[in-house]
């Protein structure tokens, strides 16, 4: 009877070595974040108000000039529009296709692992390699896509060399490559849904489609939110496939925000202006993320009310 409070007291009080260990870990984390996140981001933010050309060792204050310049150029609007279209289409495509494929594979009695592996392979393949292969496939004169389209009487397309098609071609490649990730997330989510729910629904005469609509989808809500949010943040920063497949072209037709930022920094040696673009992008991502969270929380609150 007398031992319990003593044990509780011991569990609350940390030993000296534990406190030291916790202190070291916390300090290390703070230092890590300060050095690798807070400082660079802070430096870039300050840099966005400077004429900053590192290779020339130029760092002179110019106030809001960088923001004024980029906001006055049509390129920012174009890059922003492309980024949002790219993000919306690829996020939606990846999520819907991932869900459908996961549902189809989940319903199989045999070969789940095989199909899961097949659909996941593009995700783990290098974006550089995939971009180069798709670039070749899109080649108007000797690429295979035009050849196969020709067999169905479709006239030759310019794909990446057509400003109306270029961004859509890159989006198609990205959806193909990234769908496997959403599929795996959804498959994991589906595994966690109790089978008894489907059995009960079946007894009540529920069709498979209705079971999917009223059981599977609602119970995968958390997975969907996770896939949507991570996709949104990730695709707002799309760069590699744009750089390799179109170089932002034809002209500036497929410029995205990060590609624009990269061009300003490494093409024109204007790191200040590139930092300003980065913070405009940061503001956009922040606004959309907050909106998304508010909508989600609002719906939760409605449900509880």
């Amino acid at each position: 009877m007398h031992q319990q409070p003593v044990v509780r007291g011991k569990s609350r009080r940390l030993s000296q070595s534990q406190r030291v260990m916790i202190g070291i870990t916390v300090v290390a984390l703070i230092v890590y974040y300060a050095v690798f996140f807070v400082f660079p981001i802070g430096y870039a933010f300050v840099g966005s108000f400077f004429n900053w050309m590192p290779t020339k060792r130029v760092f002179t204050p110019i106030g809001l000039e960088n923001y004024r310049k980029i906001l006055g150029q049509s390129t920012l609007g174009l890059a922003m529009r492309n980024t949002l279209v790219f993000t919306a289409v690829v996020t939606l495509g990846r999520t819907v296709l991932g869900l459908l494929i996961a549902a189809l594979i989940h319903g199989l009695n045999h070969g789940k692992s095989l199909f899961r592996t097949i659909y996941f392979i593009p995700v783990v393949t290098s974006t550089v390699a995939v971009s180069m292969v798709w670039k070749w496939m899109y080649e108007p004169s000797n690429g295979p896509l035009n050849y196969y389209l020709g067999l169905f009487g479709v006239p030759s397309q310019r794909f990446l060399k057509d400003s109306a098609q270029a961004l859509w071609c890159v989006m198609a490649m990205t959806v193909w490559k990234e769908t496997g990730y959403a599929m795996v997330m959804y498959m994991a989510g589906m595994t966690g849904i109790p089978g008894t729910l489907y059995e009960a629904a079946e007894i009540d005469g529920c069709t498979r489609l209705k079971a999917f609509r009223y059981i599977t989808l609602p119970l995968l809500k958390t997975t969907t939110e996770f896939v949507l949010l991570t996709s949104f943040v990730s695709y707002c920063q799309t760069f590699t496939q744009i750089d390799l497949m179109t170089g932002g072209g034809p002209g500036k037709a497929s410029y995205t925000m990060v590609y624009y930022l990269y061009q300003e920094a490494f093409g024109n040696n204007r790191f200040g202006r590139a930092s300003a673009i980065a913070f405009v992008l940061f503001a956009v991502i922040l606004v959309f993320s907050v909106l998304q969270l508010r909508i989600t929380r609002g719906k939760e609150a409605e449900k509880h009310a």
């Binding site: 050309m53 590192p54 290779t55 020339k56 060792r57 080649e139 108007p140 004169s141 000797n142 030759s156 310019r158 060399k161 057509d162 400003s163 072209g249 034809p250 002209g251 500036k252 037709a253 490494f266 093409g267 024109n268 040696n269 204007r270």
Partner: protein
Amino acid sequence: MKKLVACLLVLLMLTGMVTIAGAESAREGYVNTGKLQYDLNHEVNNGEDMTLEFWVQVELAETYQKWCDAYTALHPNIKFNITQGSNEDHFKKLGMALPAGSGPHLFHMHNSFIDQFMVNLKPYDPAVFPLDDLREDYIFVDESLYGGNMYYQGLAVMSCGVFYNKQMWADAGLTENDIPKTWDELAEVAQKLTQYDENGNITVAGFNYNEMSMEYLITALHYHLGVPMFGADGRTPVFNDGFKKCVEWLRDLYTEKKVGSVELPMSILSFSQGTSAMTYIGTWFGNWMKVNAPDIEYGFFILPSVDGNPAPAYDRSNIEVSPSINANVTDAEYAVINDFLCYLLSNDNFVLDFALKQYGTPTKKCLIDNPDVQADEVLGTTARYMDRLIYPGAYPDVYHSTIKKYFYDEVMLNGMDIQEAMDACKEEIMDAMETTEFVSEENKYPHADELVFE
């Protein structure tokens, strides 16, 4: 024990012999017919060991490795650690490393980066490289000076021209006499070389300027019309009626004369794949073809003038340059690097090696008439036109990349109006020029009076 000692002695002797043989071979590889002097027998860094980090472009790695090894054979206490990278990676890494105070001791340089990198560089030691000696040995000495300082020396002159597939040329019934002398003749020859399928689609382009040729072609054509790249102030890019005429002529080649198509692959790839009979590109392409498409026999000619009369200038020239020195090197390292660079620049064989590798005409005067250079169709032709090639200076890359973006991408692919493209292109180049102190050297061209500076 005696056997062990004997073995060690033999090993020591063999090592010594190999070292001596290496040094001898290095001496034999060194030929100096110029004024700049280098003493092969002196000691460097007081005989103390030193390793120099040297970053080079992948295409030059073999050449530099060879001459670094030769230098090490002469001075065994000096070693080089060569790091190679693709052209783009090389300069991007340098752009990060040099201002951060790190990076290599010396590195392969391109003159278009001089404005960006200059504050991070140490000039060559004028005591080791007397300018008068250099001027006697080389052309492009003064063009390599910035504020009187030498950060590199031009070693090979590059230009551009038309490469043609000799087999296709012969199959079309053309001979050497058909090498065009006017723009119209060039278009006619291109038409003869173009092949179509039964649906009228081009299977072999008579002339291909896709993706990485058009921007340079425009520059050459407007030189023919007496229009320089930059105006009288040396900084404002010129986009006038002459420029417009050049773009229209190029567009008509594809849209009206149907000698090429934007749907074909990039000019150099298409030429190397045998789907283009002619292309216009830098002289470096000659070497590229030897490596990537050795089975295709090609010929080369300088772009013909508008009407057959001598052009004010036939094309632009540029220089491939010697390595540059990191500003952060110590005094001891600086002394050794200058010694190494003097070994290279005074050595005819290195300069010839470098020029042939880069596929440019050597800038060392004694080598311009070298039989290997003159016998080469590309280098020999370029050397003969040297007097009529303009060196505009180390202008920033953004000039041609922006022209490509507007006149190939927007005009040819997207159908933008030429005047609209000219206005937008000028604005963008002017904006980019704010980050550089570049001033064109076109007004120093010996025949500058034949150009119209606005």
